[in-house]
């Protein structure tokens, strides 16, 4: 599952969270990283807020499970979580890449504006909630209310989706290979075009996940909730 390290990877700067604090780690990551290509965080042990608000093209490996908000607000960084991730992984990411080797809890990629979040296992509730432009690729299933109010960006779901997929979705686009237990308000299955197949193909390739792009369905907004209409059936 874990991505193989590229050959001749530079020696990492190591942080051992059994001896050092998350505060020390983040303070280091917010400093001048121009001579730092790689940081390895050992014994993360589910700590919260690991590598938040990074703004540098650095590779950060978290050697185990991360708690809440790992790689939150990431800019430019490549953050690899070699275990599972708690709620809000890569929340409000702006750019860069965040990978979760295992499972991700609720709110993965919440309100992300950019970048790519890859979850190789399943994602919990509200994956991609309020998404604002980032891309998310989930190797497994997603929980209920995923892509709730998602405004922009794309989510590729290789497995199934639980209840209320894409509720109140705006211009974000969802691609799902498995079953949809139910769609949320204003979310509809739309035809896959050649552009959609190309998008899925390229997102899967970027994520390093193999799946046949043609087997995906597209879910988007029916745009019926964009305006209040006094004559229409009220949904509020």
């Amino acid at each position: 599952m874990v991505r193989v390290m590229p050959e001749a990877a530079p020696a990492p700067v190591k942080f051992d969270l059994s001896k050092q604090s998350v505060r020390e780690l983040n303070q280091f990551l917010h400093g001048d990283l121009k001579d730092v290509a790689r940081v390895r965080v050992e014994n993360p042990d589910g700590a919260h807020s690991i590598a938040v608000a990074v703004d540098a093209p650095v590779r950060i490996e978290i050697a185990g499970h991360a708690g809440y908000y790992a790689a939150g607000m990431n800019q430019q960084g490549t953050v690899v979580i070699e275990g599972n991730a708690g709620p809000g992984v890569a929340e409000n990411m702006m750019s860069g890449r965040v990978e979760v080797a295992g499972f991700a809890s609720g709110g993965a990629g919440a309100s992300a504006h950019g970048g790519l979040l890859v979850i190789r296992g399943d994602a919990g509730l509200r994956c991609g909630i309020s998404l604002k432009g980032g891309d998310i690729v989930v190797g497994g299933d997603v929980g209920s209310f995923s892509a709730f109010m998602a405004q922009a960006g794309r989510i590729v779901i290789c497995g199934d989706a639980a209840e209320g997929l894409g509720d109140s979705i705006y211009e974000a686009v969802l691609y799902i290979r498995g079953d949809i237990r139910s769609l949320g308000a204003d979310a509809v299955v739309q035809p896959m075009t050649a552009d959609d197949i190309a998008a899925v193909t390229s997102l899967l390739a970027a994520a390093g996940i193999e799946a046949p792009a043609r087997e995906f369905k597209r879910v988007g907004s029916a745009r019926k909730l964009y305006h209040w209409n006094a004559d229409a059936d009220q949904e509020y």
Binding site: A53, E91, Y226
Partner: protein, 459 residues
């Protein structure tokens, strides 16, 4: 069998019977007619319009023999206010305890945001971004800028977070506790839409819950994340709409807030359902008292600062909020009115021009307008319309707002001196008396001329 007495029915000079029902008065009839015609609730701006127990129902007990007053014009009375002393490395230092409430770019024009920033900077106080992100105009004009982290996260990004002087996590607001924001399509201009990542012109509904945390225990972790992101430098405010204030304030303290903002039901909004504005939440007066009691019970009154908002209009209101235990107040609607909201005219190039015709187009008149939601503000305050927004010149707006804040601050110090205080933060509950039983019960201040606090002291 005795005949029933016939009630007297008022007959006007025209001979018509006009017995108005108290239950179905003309306001309710209008409401029902409107609901029947449209099938949609009414959405409007500003705050609760109904009469509520408020600061007006309290008076100060000026010094006389038992207390010693200070000379009104000579003796020092400090208004310096420090917020965020609990955990932040760089607390907010203000010259006055009167701040400008969060109002979004979107609900307000960029000119207005600039005017607010200039006025706040001139008076040594802060402005707050609102639901729609930080504009360059506001950041560059406002020396102390509070950056809101709202459920919608519209335009929220780490670059602006780092540029902010403090962070305010908005749980709710007094006009609509439990509800998200609204911005009707006519105000979702291309620039607003881009900042919020939405299609231009849609009727925007903001989320009412944060996307990445769900309860008070999560909030503890969210606050730590924001602290980590900003290297523990910036104070973190948590803003709540006033409902179960006692418990909510305790949870804010538990979550690690440096500053708690409590917004009563008189607090304004740019657009919300009428039923929300008038029927959800509790009055500011009751909210302050509950918030202060929660802080006192946890013994953190000195560590966690309290900002009160929701219908703070005058220097006397500010003084009363401080006497009840607030460290500062926050003003939204009063600021808009200082800018010209509900005024019959607007100023262009130093001359007044009538706005009456534009009020008429909105089917209202100066003094009655709450049509912020339409984006057709006749005085250019709550609009994104390129023509209307020009009606508020940033220099004029800034001057008016700074005059307003100056007046409030002078009234505040005048009252504080009259109560014998060299520091406005020394005003205390013992300086107040209540004029009504309701206000006495809500504020915990004795009814004037008695020592009676309903629900606290025996009758």
């Amino acid at each position: 069998m005795a005949t029933r007495p016939v009630p007297e029915i008022p007959i006007a000079g025209d001979g018509l019977q006009r017995e108005e029902s108290a239950l179905y008065d003309r306001r309710v009839l209008d409401y029902i007619e409107r609901a029947a015609a449209t099938g949609l609730y009414e959405i409007r701006g500003l705050g609760a319009k109904r009469r509520l127990p408020h600061f007006d129902d309290l008076v100060f007990l000026g010094a006389s023999l038992s207390r010693y007053p200070l000379e009104g014009y000579r003796e020092k009375c400090t208004t310096r206010t420090i917020l965020g002393t609990r955990f932040a490395k760089k607390p907010i230092e203000l010259d006055i305890p009167i701040t400008i409430a969060g109002m979004s770019f979107g609900s307000l024009s960029a000119n207005v945001k600039e005017a607010l920033g200039r006025a706040a900077t001139a008076l040594g106080t802060s402005t707050t971004t609102g639901d729609g992100g930080m504009t360059q105009e506001e950041r560059s004009s406002s020396k102390t800028l509070i950056y809101q982290c709202l459920p919608s996260r519209y335009g929220f990004n780490p670059d602006d977070l780092r540029k902010a002087d403090a962070i305010e996590i908005v749980i709710g607001q007094g006009a609509k506790p439990g509800g998200g924001g609204m911005l009707l399509g006519q105000k979702v201009s291309p620039r607003v839409a881009k900042m919020r990542t939405l299609p231009a012109g849609i009727d925007q509904r903001s989320a009412c819950r944060h996307p990445d945390w769900t309860g008070p225990d999560d909030l503890v972790i969210k606050i730590k994340e924001l602290r980590e992101a900003t290297d523990w430098e910036k104070p973190i405010y948590v803003k709540i709409g006033a409902t179960r204030v006692f418990h909510d304030v305790k949870l804010c303290v538990h979550a690690g807030a440096d500053v708690i903002v409590v917004d009563g039901m008189q607090g304004g909004t740019a657009a919300t359902q009428l039923a929300f504005i008038e029927h959800v939440g509790i009055p500011t007066l009751a909210a302050v008292r509950q918030a202060v009691e929660a802080l006192e019970e946890l013994n953190v009154k000195e560590d966690v600062q309290l900002i009160v908002s929701g219908g703070v209009r005058t220097g006397a209101d500010v003084a009363k909020a401080l006497a009840l235990g607030a460290d500062a107040v926050s003003i939204g609607q009063g600021i808009l009115m200082a800018l010209g909201c509900n005024s019959g005219s607007y100023v262009q190039g130093g001359k007044h021009y009538s706005a009456e015709a534009d009020y008429r187009l909105l089917k209202t008149a100066p003094g009655y307008c709450h049509h912020c939601h339409t984006g057709r503000c006749p005085v250019g305050v709550t609009t994104q319309d390129p023509v209307l927004e020009q009606r508020l010149e940033p220099e004029v707006g800034a001057r008016r707002v700074s005059n307003y804040l100056k007046t409030l601050n002078m009234e505040l110090t005048m009252i504080a001196r009259a109560c014998g205080k060299q520091n406005v933060h020394h005003l205390e509950r013992e300086d107040l008396a209540a004029l009504t039983i309701e206000s006495a019960a809500m504020s915990g201040v004795p009814l004037a001329g008695t020592s009676w606090i309903p629900g606290v002291t025996p009758t």
